[in-house]
């Protein structure tokens, strides 16, 4: 199957003469006859300011060859701006961005050898699907046979073969999304950039396209930077997640690392759905005392942290039923079939629990719960840092 995607087999003269940065892997570690060019991306102390307002405060991210990196964060955290800086659509106010070995700060977008998929797809409405995909190659005057070959290959990969003569208007949202990706694939760039590509799709299609994009990346193995505000997209697709907030990187790592070991309160609250239960209180010798006066058992923590104001974080699935546990009043029960989501009130605070077993209790009744102390998290109340 992978033979299908050797689109970059022969590259016409492209505007990348400036750098011999194109890493090729002929034969050696690829299947026979396949050449794929990739590039790492280094973002070093990058800053962005609009006038006197600084929106990105010194970001360092290393993206390896062929890696799928997702920038995730709430709106206004600077993730899209950062992506547009990689693309060359925004100026870089400070720091350095390298694609391959070449510093691209002052390289115009078209010479960066990147392809971008926009949130609103940005398909040329007056061109057919085929023309949309062929546009970049026509501009650089590639021979017609090569254009057709590449467009047909990309269309084959994305299932667009029957739609090549249609106009964007005549396509559904998911099809337009695929055309936008096809346009990127045809370019055979060093780096793919995705700017919230799934936000305009309905929920079901989003899940489907998520899988398709991930599969596409597994086939093409092109370095990809993907921006989203949806942490589920980030968790499911990324090799590496970069959590951004207010123009800084809060944490960076593999999805499950971030999930299991959030570095601070922001990441703890942002990653995971339903989100982590966070209880304010004080660390005591015998556990964690909440503001409501309930003592929660907690796992190991530094001895010198006793009597420190802190926040206890417990993921919903790490709360379990235990006859010897803490009493909690059931507020809402949401059976989901495979599991049951229950909102309980304990010490004046609402917590979300996810139980594998089915619950017989009714709202208003009391159940006994306890946390799995091996996976509880403690954060400093003042700094938000993990203890």
């Amino acid at each position: 199957m992978r033979g299908l995607v050797s689109i970059g087999s022969q590259k016409p003269m492209v505007c990348n003469a400036a750098g011999g940065d194109r890493v090729r892997h002929p034969g050696a570690n690829q299947s026979a006859g396949e050449t794929t060019k990739m590039a790492s991306v280094q973002i070093a102390d990058v800053r962005k300011a609009y006038g006197s307002t600084q929106v990105i405060h010194g970001v360092d991210i290393d993206i390896n060859d062929g890696e799928f990196v997702i920038l995730v964060g709430p709106s206004g955290c600077g993730k899209s701006t950062l992506l547009r800086m990689i693309a060359g659509l925004e100026n870089i106010s400070g720091g350095e961005i390298r694609i391959g070995s070449r510093v691209v700060n002052d390289v115009p977008p078209k010479e960066r050898d990147i392809a971008m998929v926009f949130q609103n797809y940005a398909l040329y409405p007056h061109m057919t699907v085929a023309d949309n995909m062929a546009f970049s190659m026509k501009l650089r005057k590639a021979p017609k046979s090569e254009i057709d070959e590449r467009v047909n290959k990309a269309a084959g990969i994305l299932g667009l073969t029957n739609l090549l003569e249609r106009y964007p208007r005549q396509l559904s949202g998911g099809q337009r999304q695929r055309v936008a990706m096809g346009r990127a694939i045809v370019r055979d760039p060093q780096v793919f950039l995705f700017d919230e590509p799934l936000s305009n799709l309905d929920a079901k299609l989003r899940v489907q396209m998520r899988t398709e994009i991930k599969e596409l990346h597994q086939r093409l193995k092109t370095t990809t930077v993907y921006v989203t505000h949806d942490q589920i997209e980030a968790m499911t697709m990324a090799d590496k997640i970069v959590v951004m907030h207010d123009g800084i990187v809060e944490q960076m790592g593999a999805p499950l690392d971030l999930y299991d070991n959030p570095a601070n309160l922001f990441v703890a609250a942002f990653i995971g759905s339903p989100s982590m239960n966070l209880l304010k209180g004080t660390i005591r010798a015998n556990g964690f005392e909440t503001e409501g006066g309930v003592i929660w058992p907690v796992g190991k923590h530094p001895a010198d942290s006793n009597d420190r104001a802190a926040v206890l974080g417990i993921r919903p699935e790490h709360l379990m039923l235990d006859p010897n546990g803490l009493s909690a009043e059931v507020v809402v029960i949401e059976p989901m079939g495979s599991e049951t989501q229950v909102v309980v009130r304990c010490g004046g605070q609402d917590l979300t629990c996810i139980f594998r077993e089915r619950i017989g209790a009714k709202p208003g009744e009391t159940i006994k719960i306890r946390p799995d102390t091996s996976v509880t998290h403690l954060f400093d109340a003042a700094t938000g840092k993990r203890i």
Binding site: K110, S136, R183
Partner: protein
């Protein structure tokens, strides 16, 4: 299973004939259309119909005429002044439209960028369009004056490029070009502002996508701006052609068709013959002769330019 049928008898409403009449849909439609229809009939169809009728009579002012068939048109066919006015109108419309579109599009592209004092500039652009035509005609009359022309003054006295003052309106060809220049000056704002509105509907991400696809500024204009602007361009072009073709005020106020009838447009000649000349029938015939040209221009821009294939089809949002 007869449940509610008996329990709730339908109340027998007794309605007056007036209420029932207004509930009768064809009548209601007729009533609602009546005001608009009346306006159209009185102010559009009647004058147009009367004009066409007059073209086939020998009516003069003060004497109702009789039907004479195509006699007016036959005599016009052999009338050199009328033939000149037709050529003038075509030249005037053609050259002025091309110039207005070139300059208007250029201005619109400029104003679509981030400029300091952008809104002030946009407001200023509209001035030639807002000023009453006759007022700007008088201004141009001064600008083209044989003795007091500011252009002549600059060329002769300031720059010293010429020895004699320019004779703008005194001989046929300079007069024609002068009128075209005045018309272009007046028409640019309409084109520029309309095209600017069109430009602003083009999504900036399209330009970004084109930039990443490797398009330079000219290619972005050629492959993104121009095709996206085509629909509005076609409509503005149609209007501009119609306005220019039927122009009357500017020419009549500046030259009155002179010198020696050499700058008459069809519209000014129609007025000249019909009202001051008193030959209502002949004037009407000249005006009616404009109709085929206008219909052709409209059909051309409507079918050739207005609707593009990519705009048709289902919107699948």
């Amino acid at each position: 299973m007869t449940i509610a049928a008996e329990a709730r008898p339908v109340p027998q409403l007794t309605q007056s004939w007036l209420v029932r009449l207004f509930d009768y849909k064809p009548f209601l439609i007729f009533i609602c259309l009546l005001p608009a229809l009346g306006l159209l009939l009185v102010f559009l169809s009647y004058p147009l119909g009367l004009g066409i009728w007059l073209a086939f009579t020998d009516t003069r002012i003060g004497r109702s005429g009789v039907f004479i068939g195509f006699e007016n048109f036959e005599s016009l066919w052999h009338d050199p002044v009328f033939i000149t006015s037709v050529w003038n109108t075509l030249l005037y419309t053609g050259v002025a439209t091309v110039a207005k579109f070139g300059l208007g599009l250029w201005l619109a592209l400029l104003l679509n960028n981030h400029l300091p004092f952008k809104s002030l500039l946009r407001a200023l652009i509209l001035v030639p369009w807002i000023v009453p035509t006759v007022l700007s005609a008088i201004a141009f009359w001064w600008i083209y004056d044989p003795q007091f022309s500011i252009i002549s003054y600059v060329l002769v006295d300031v720059l010293g490029w010429r020895d004699t003052y320019v004779d703008f309106l005194g001989s046929p060809w300079p007069a024609r070009w002068s009128l075209i220049a005045a018309n272009v000056w007046r028409g640019i704002p309409f084109v520029a502002i309309s095209l600017l509105a069109g430009l602003q509907t083009i999504s900036p991400t399209l330009y970004e996508a084109a930039m990443l696809d490797g398009a330079n500024a000219w290619q972005r204009f050629r492959h993104v701006t121009l095709p996206m602007l085509m629909p509005i361009l076609a409509i503005v072009l149609t209007f501009s052609v119609l306005f220019t073709f039927t122009d009357f005020q500017l020419v009549y106020a500046i030259t009155r068709g002179g010198p020696i009838n050499s700058t008459h447009l069809m519209a000014t000649l129609a007025f000249q013959r019909g009202i001051p000349g008193g030959q209502l029938g002949e004037g009407a015939a000249i005006a009616v002769a404009m109709i085929p040209f206008l219909v052709m221009a409209t059909l051309f821009s409507y079918f050739a330019l207005a609707r593009r294939k990519w705009q048709q089809g289902e919107d699948n949002d």
